[in-house]
C-alpha cells in the first residue's frame, strides 16, 4: 500500500461519509456544507487521476458558485429550523423501496463494467489537462459542446424573461 493508495481510500471515505451526512443532516445549512466537503473530496480524486483542470473547475463551479447560490436561498428563506420528521410510515417505506431499487440498478449496471477490479490509474493519462480537454471539446465533441452552451444560454434567457414578468 503506497501513499497514493492511502490517499485514494482516505478521499473515498471522506466523499462517501460526507455524502451520507448531506442526507442525514437535520439543518439544510449543514447539508450544504457537507456537500461542499464532498466536492472537495471528488476534486481530490480528479487531481489524483492527473485531471487538475477538471478538479479545480469542479471546485470553482460547484463549490464556489452553485453552492453559494444554494446557501443564499437557504439563508434567505430562513430554513434554519430543523426539518420536520416525515409523517406517514407508508411514505417512509415507499422512500426506502425506491432508494433500494435505485441502488440495485446502480449495482447491476456497475457489476459488469470493465474497470471493475482495476485499481485507479493514478497520475497517468492527460485527458484531464487543459490542452487535451480543449482539443477534445473543440474538435471531436464540438457539436455537443455548442449545443450544451446554447442550452445554457436559453436557460439564462428564460430566467431573465421570467424575472422581468
Amino acid at each position: 500500500m503506497n501513499v497514493s493508495d492511502i490517499l485514494f481510500y482516505f478521499l473515498s471515505a471522506l466523499a462517501i461519509g460526507s455524502a451520507i451526512l448531506v442526507v442525514i443532516s437535520r439543518s439544510p445549512i449543514y447539508s450544504v456544507l457537507w456537500l461542499i466537503v464532498t466536492f472537495f473530496a471528488i476534486s481530490g480524486h480528479y487531481i489524483m487521476m492527473n485531471a487538475q483542470f477538471l478538479g479545480i473547475v469542479n471546485l470553482i463551479v460547484y463549490a464556489g458558485a452553485i453552492m453559494v447560490l444554494f446557501l443564499f436561498v437557504i439563508m434567505l428563506i430562513n430554513l434554519n429550523t430543523d426539518a420536520k420528521p416525515q409523517k406517514g410510515k407508508w411514505l417512509r417505506l415507499a422512500g426506502t423501496v425506491a432508494g433500494g431499487c435505485l441502488l440495485l440498478v446502480l449495482v447491476a449496471a456497475l457489476k459488469n463494467t470493465e474497470v471493475k477490479g482495476m485499481g485507479v490509474q493514478v497520475g497517468t493519462g492527460d485527458i484531464g489537462l487543459i490542452n487535451q480537454l480543449g482539443k477534445a471539446l473543440f474538435t471531436e465533441y464540438v457539436v455537443p459542446f455548442e449545443i450544451s452552451s446554447i442550452l445554457f444560454l436559453s436557460a439564462m434567457v428564460g430566467a431573465v424573461v421570467i424575472g422581468k414578468k
Partner: protein, 360 residues
C-alpha cells in the same frame, strides 16, 4: 503525485521553510498594512496619523493586536457556535492559501552534503496556477456567508448576502479578462506567465484594458472601497462581522489585509512582470553578482511593486465614496462584463491574425 509524495526529506524541509516564511511574511505585511492604511489616510486628510507607539508609531500594529487579544470574547447565545467559529477561520485560511502558487523570486542555489540544490521561491508550481487562485478566492465567500449567517443577526445576514453576491458577480469579469491574458501567454502556470515577461515587455502593455478590469475586480473581491458594501458601517452596522469580537474579529480584518496583499501579488505576477527587475537584464546581472543575490534583488523588486499596488488600494479607499448597491451591480454586469468580452474578442482576433502572418 507519486514523485511528489516519494520521500525526499530535504525537499519537504525546503518547502516547509518556504511555507512558514511566506506565511509569516504575509502576516507581518498585513500587520503593517493596517499601520500604512492609517498613515495614508492621515496624510491624505492633512493629519499626522499614529505616531505615539515607538518611533513614528511603528509599534502601533503590535498595540492594536494586543488590544484585540485582550478584548472579551463574545459568542452570541443564539448563534450557531461551531459555524460562528468556522467563519473567521475560513476567511483566514482562504486568504493564506493563495500565496502557494505565486512565484516570489528566482532560484536559490546552494550546496548541501556535496549535492547542488536549486530551490525556486515558489511553494507549488502547479500547471493550473491561475485557476487554483480562482478556486481559493471563490472559497473566500464562505467565510463571509457562514460568519454572517451564524451571527443570527439580520444586518450581518444582509451584509453577508451582499458580500457573496458581489464576489460572485465580479469573479466573472475577472475571469474573462484573464482569458484574454491567457491567450497571449498560452499557459496557466504562474511560473511560465512570469517567465515570459522577464527581460521582455510586461503583459500590461499588451493587455491594458484587461489589467484595468482585473484591477477593478480585485478591489471588489477584496471588499475594499469603493466596493466595501459588505461592511458598510453606516448602513449595516459594520457588516458581517458585527457580532464578532476579540481575535475572531481580528481574523476577519486581518484576512482583508492579507487578501489585499495577495491580490496585489497576483496582479504584479500576471501583468507587471512578477519578480523581474525592470530595465535590467536579469540574466546578465546573475553573472555579476551570483544567483542568490539576484533572487534576493528579485524578491525585493517584487515587494516594491506589491507595495505600490497596496498604496493604490489605500489611495483609492481614501478618495472614492462607496458605490450604491445597484450601481455596483450595474457596473459589474452591464459595463465590466461587456468590456471584458470585447477585450477578449479583440485579443483573440489579434492572436489569430498574428498566427496567420497578418493575412486574411
Amino acid at each position: 503525485m507519486i514523485t511528489l509524495l516519494a520521500i525526499d526529506w530535504l525537499f519537504i524541509l525546503e518547502k516547509l521553510i518556504l511555507i512558514v516564511s511566506i506565511i509569516s511574511i504575509s502576516l507581518v505585511i498585513a500587520m503593517y498594512e493596517t499601520y500604512a492604511e492609517r498613515k495614508v489616510a492621515a496624510v491624505m486628510q492633512d493629519r499626522r496619523g499614529p505616531n505615539r507607539a515607538g518611533p513614528f508609531g511603528i509599534l502601533q500594529p503590535l498595540a492594536d493586536g494586543l488590544k484585540l487579544f485582550m478584548k472579551e470574547e463574545i459568542i452570541p447565545n443564539t448563534s450557531n457556535r461551531f459555524l460562528f467559529v468556522l467563519g473567521p477561520c475560513m476567511a483566514m485560511l482562504t486568504a493564506m492559501m493563495t500565496s502557494a502558487v505565486i512565484p516570489w523570486g528566482g532560484k536559490i542555489h546552494f550546496t548541501l552534503f556535496g549535492a547542488d540544490r536549486w530551490v525556486s521561491l515558489q511553494i507549488a508550481d502547479i500547471n493550473i496556477g491561475i485557476l487554483y487562485i480562482f478556486g481559493v478566492v471563490s472559497m473566500g465567500v464562505y467565510g463571509i456567508m457562514i460568519g454572517g449567517w451564524a451571527s443570527n443577526n439580520k444586518f450581518s445576514l444582509m451584509a453577508a448576502m451582499r458580500g457573496a453576491s458581489q464576489v460572485i458577480s465580479y469573479e466573472l469579469p475577472m475571469g474573462l479578462s484573464l482569458i484574454a491574458l491567457l491567450m497571449l501567454t498560452g499557459s496557466l502556470k504562474m511560473s511560465s506567465i512570469v517567465g515570459g515577461q522577464i527581460d521582455s515587455w510586461y503583459n500590461v502593455l499588451y493587455q491594458p484594458l484587461g489589467f484595468f478590469i482585473f484591477l477593478v475586480c480585485a478591489f471588489a473581491e477584496c471588499n475594499r472601497t469603493p466596493f466595501d458594501l459588505p461592511e458598510a458601517e453606516n448602513e449595516l452596522n459594520f457588516g458581517y462581522h458585527q457580532e464578532y469580537s476579540s481575535m475572531k474579529l481580528g481574523f476577519y480584518l486581518f484576512a482583508e489585509y492579507i487578501n489585499m496583499f495577495i491580490s496585489s501579488a497576483v496582479m504584479v505576477s500576471l501583468f507587471w512582470g512578477g519578480y523581474d527587475i525592470p530595465f535590467i537584464k536579469d540574466a546578465n546581472l546573475a553573472e555579476q553578482i551570483g544567483y542568490n543575490w539576484l533572487a534576493a534583488l528579485q524578491g525585493l523588486s517584487m515587494f516594491i511593486k506589491i507595495a505600490i499596488f497596496i498604496f493604490a488600494f489605500m489611495w483609492v479607499r481614501w478618495t472614492i465614496p462607496r458605490f450604491r448597491y445597484d450601481q455596483l451591480m450595474n457596473l459589474g454586469w452591464k459595463t465590466l462584463i461587456p468590456l471584458s468580452l470585447f477585450n477578449m474578442i479583440i485579443t483573440a482576433l489579434v492572436v489569430l491574425l498574428r498566427e496567420y502572418g497578418w493575412r486574411f
